[in-house]
Symmetry: C2
Subunit: 145 residues, 2 copies
């Protein structure tokens, strides 16, 4: 089962794409830091200072201002995440995130999928606040059990 | 199955409680308007101007600055939603929303639960931005298929 989340952001695609790939920007809306600029074929390390946690993601595909595909997870290959940026007629941008690879045969797996859904909606809402209003402190405030 | 979402907001519980029950405030982070102030036993109408949609909710319980319980949904009684406000030692407040009544026996039901999860995370993040930064325009930007 896939997890699909979409939001409208009142900024050009280029600016939104940069917020993901530029390690100076990610701390404004998502992880606290990233080891380096995202480039196709690279493995980069994302760090959550607040939770003393970090993980690697592998950038499979980058199309400037249009598309990002990466893999993350615990098994080396992990889930595939695709991010699509599409400029709309009113000069805003539709940002679509699709994560693939979920099983939903047990309640634990459904809870994992729900947590993932909440995570993407949270990240995209924080991203919207960051880019439209320069608000950088909404992130890292969802409370996990 | 229940849907549980928690966020930390850097405001006193009283201010967050008021954002839900005061019809002048709901348009800053959630629905566009509400018919009247929330009071125990009342049925109030929530309107989403952007989607030309509205629905009634029945307020079952109100404990000022601490707890709100309401029912919503399509079958008269509907799902039960409980909102808890707990002030923390650092003068911020933990806001917990629990919605009860989900079945997860079919993929459609899981999609409904996922949509509900995304909705609560979105509402709470918009609420945080509204109360902490007076940002009122994050709402109504998630794109549904």
């Amino acid at each position: 089962m896939n997890n699909l989340t979409k939001i409208k952001i009142e900024k050009p695609a280029k600016e939104i794409f940069e917020a993901f790939v530029d390690p100076e920007k990610i701390g404004g809306f998502w992880f606290s830091s990233c080891s380096e600029r995202w480039e196709q074929g690279k493995t980069v390390t994302l760090r959550y200072e607040e939770y003393n946690a970090q993980g690697d993601i592998k950038i499979a595909e980058l199309e400037a201002n249009k598309k990002i595909v990466f893999h993350w997870g615990t098994n080396g290959e992990g889930n595939k995440v695709s991010i699509f940026f599409t400029e709309l007629e009113d000069h805003s941008t539709s940002v679509v995130i699709e994560e693939e690879g979920f099983s939903v045969n047990h309640e634990d797996q459904i809870l994992y999928l729900l947590d993932n859904k909440g995570g993407w909606v949270y990240t995209l809402t924080c991203l919207k606040a960051y880019l439209e209003f320069a608000v950088t402190t909404l992130r890292a405030s969802l409370i996990k059990k």
